[in-house]
Every structure is written in structure tokens, then in C-alpha cells.
Symmetry: C2
């Protein structure tokens, strides 16, 4: 009898050296014969539901299985492991980020930055995953291509191009990431709870570091959505100004 073996596993034996399984992106979706089966898109859809609803911890292979009305380990036929599933998921949401074209480079950069930030707000679980593995999926690729083209049209080339682009992404990810976890923190505990938690800390701070204490009271505890908006606009403008003055 022929032993059904996972195509995705590392192949050994036959005297050949151990061979790495290829990335999801070069490996085509399974050819479908046999009983109609789960689809990659179907699986990623369900995974996204769980991720968006409950964050990274909300996604477990078993819960994914039950959501798909299938066995806990059936997904493993279509996907090598959980990391790969997350790779698929993050590329899927990268489809939501757009780089406006047709305007000047600054409009393109701003649009890209805001679009990326909005995506992170919709899918806060992405923050942890950024840069985990190099993002190589079709949508990430498309975005990268577009943004490099926009910065290239602005005159940046070579390492300067890389530097300029990086400055924007790095800032956006840092800023949007901190906003995302701040919001996740707020929604868990009501604002009043948060204040009560902070209270003993603040009273001690009043004595030891009055400047910091008043900053926290006057700024942090009054931080609304508008303030976050202003903060992001400010930081982004700083970065873009710096780029403008360094543009070839």
C-alpha cells in the first residue's frame, strides 16, 4: 500500500541531502481531486475572523478547525504549519493598503502611511508579526513595488531609496503599533478602572517626579482619538520634511 505522505514535509532518504520545503508563495495551492475540500482562501477567511475578533491568542488550530466545521488537524493538509498560515493571513490584509499614484511624492508617501496605519488599526495582531519573516506574499510585494516606484519617482535611488522608504515604514509601524496596543489596553478595562489602577503609582510620582506626574495627568489621561490623530500627523510630517530636504 502506498503511504500517503505530506507533500510539504522535508523530503529525506534516497541518499539525497535533506531538502528545505519551499515557501508558501512558490508552492501552488493543492491540486484538487478527491472530495471537494477546504480552500486556502476559506481557511484564511476563518483565521482572519478569529484574529480580528480576539487577536493573536484567539487563533488556535483547534478553534480554526471547529470554525471550519472540520477536524482539528485537517488544515495541515493545506498549510505546512501555523506560521505559514499567519504568513497567508498577513499578506491578505496587506491587500488593504494602497499607495496613491498620480500626485507628487509627498502625497503618495502620506497616503501610503495613512493607509498602512489604518490597516494596522483594523488588524492590530499584525504588529507583532511585522518583520517576523520577510514579507514576500503577492500583496506585500505589490505594495513594496508601488512605494519604491513612488519614492523612485521622487528622485531617490539605491541606498538612498532604501533609507527613505525605511524611514517612513519604520515610523508608521512604531507609531501605529503603539497606538494599537494602547487602544487594546483601553478597551479591556474601562477608563475609570485604568485611572484607579494608576492612582497609587501617581501619588507616589507626585512626590518623586512631579513633572512627569503632571504630564501623565494633563496629557496621557486626556488622550482622545483626536490627540492620537494629531500625534501621528505631527510625527509623519517630521519624517517627510526630513526626507524632502534630503531629496536628490
Amino acid at each position: 500500500m502506498f503511504k500517503s505522505r505530506t507533500l510539504y514535509e522535508k523530503r529525506k532518504g534516497h541518499g539525497m541531502a535533506e531538502e528545505k520545503a519551499a515557501s508558501v508563495w512558490v508552492r501552488p495551492e493543492r491540486a484538487r481531486r478527491g472530495r471537494p475540500a477546504l480552500t486556502r482562501t476559506q481557511i484564511v477567511d476563518a483565521a482572519l475572523d478569529l484574529l480580528d475578533a480576539e487577536g493573536l491568542d484567539g487563533l488556535s488550530m483547534r478553534r480554526l478547525g471547529t470554525r471550519l466545521n472540520s477536524g482539528a488537524t485537517s488544515v495541515y493538509w493545506h498549510v505546512a504549519n501555523k506560521d505559514e498560515l499567519l504568513e497567508l493571513a498577513i499578506d491578505r490584509v496587506m491587500a488593504e493598503v494602497a499607495v496613491p499614484s498620480g500626485g507628487d511624492w509627498r502625497a503618495a508617501a502620506t497616503g501610503y502611511a495613512r493607509s498602512l496605519r489604518a490597516m494596522i488599526h483594523r488588524h492590530p495582531w499584525t504588529v507583532t508579526l511585522f518583520g517576523g519573516r520577510p514579507m514576500i506574499g503577492p500583496n506585500a510585494t505589490r505594495v513594496l513595488d508601488e512605494v519604491l516606484a513612488a519614492f523612485g519617482a521622487a528622485g531617490f535611488t539605491g541606498f538612498g531609496l532604501e533609507y527613505a522608504w525605511s524611514a517612513v515604514v519604520d515610523y508608521v509601524i512604531g507609531a501605529a503599533g503603539s497606538e494599537a496596543s494602547w487602544q487594546r489596553n483601553q478597551e479591556g478595562t474601562s477608563s475609570a478602572d485604568w485611572v484607579r489602577d494608576l492612582h497609587p503609582y501617581l501619588t507616589r510620582l507626585d512626590a518623586e517626579r512631579p513633572g512627569l506626574a503632571s504630564h501623565i495627568r494633563d496629557i496621557w489621561m486626556k488622550e482622545t482619538g483626536d490627540v492620537l490623530e494629531g500625534r501621528f500627523a505631527f510625527g509623519l510630517a517630521c519624517v517627510l520634511d526630513g526626507l524632502e530636504s534630503r531629496r536628490p
Copy 2:
């Protein structure tokens, strides 16, 4: 007999409403009587060893226990749960970041940024944790106080102060975070492996997106430590220039 109960648990009963346990930082270390015991510092030391050696996944309570030559669950007497342990750990490494004083504001900001980045490089596991909960430990507090003072001396006040400071941290965390995971990625697989993994992707890219393909070949695959250094210097300079021109 008196049932020994964890002091750290939420206290209920006696008709009083459920009460939240206070944060690690307001709760003193356990008074020591009885047999000489584990120490907070001792525990955090061991945790840091594991974290620095093998990253976030390297720290499990059981491994921590064996490293301390103690039972797997003994740590729970000194620390409410794993999250709290991580809070202690991250504050410990915050001791390593310094804000230079005595120079102009730009020197202070640069020094702070570089110091924070260096700390992240030494302890890449911090990246995921930043902003998880608001950082409230003594060292984080000290750093925050110092950096706010430096920016305050530069003329920033109120929300402008918050904006200016945030722009720097957000950029640094974004940039250092991406560098850290990039390095972690390189050290796992040898550089040659990485190239081989990317190869099928690149050949396809040559046809579909030649601009991007050549960028990857010419820039990404030649990225050395010096390049990362230059990239960070560039981005930071952009942010600081933007701040300078907006300084009151």
C-alpha cells in the same frame, strides 16, 4: 487549620466587592521570614538569561524553575503570573537606556535614541512587549522623566512635548524592531540558505516586477551592519530635523 492562600490573588468574600490586585510596582517584595527564599532579583536574573539566550519562546515557567534549582511553580509565590514577570524583566533592561544631559536637546535626543536602539539589539525580545501594558516600572519611569525634561528644556510643552517625544520613540522602536527581527532571521539560517530560499521568488519577480527584483538584489542582499547603521542615522536625522523646525 489555616489555609495558606496566595496574597496576590484577588480577594473576595466578606461582602466586599471583588478587588483588583495591585500592580507589581506598588506591591512590595514579600517580607522574608521562614527559610531563605528566592528573590525577585534572582528570579528576574534567571528569566533574563533565558530571554536573551533564546528569545521570548525560551522562557517558560518550568524552564525558569529548573534554572533556579527550584520547583516549577515556586516562582508563583513571588510573582503573580508570567506577564508580571515580563513586566519586571523589561523594566530591568530599561535600566540600560540613558538620556545624556548637559548638551543641547538634539544631543540628548540622539543619545537617548541610540541608547534605546542598542538596548533593543541586546534584548530583541523586548520589541514584542513594548506597549503591551503601559510601562510603569522605576527604570522606565526614570527614562521617561529624563527624556521629557530634555525635550522640555528644548522648549516643547503640553501636547507638543508629547508629540515630539512620541515621534522619536515611535521611530526608534519601529526601526530597531525591524532591525532586530531581521538579524534574528539571519542568524537562524545562514546567509546562503536565505538566498536559496529567496531564489524561486526572485526569478519570478524578475519577470513581473523587475524594479523591485533589482532593488532586492542590489540593496537587501548586500545589507550589512554598516548599512543598518546608516539607515538608522538617516531616519533619526529626518525626525530630529522635523522636530527642530517645529520647536517653539
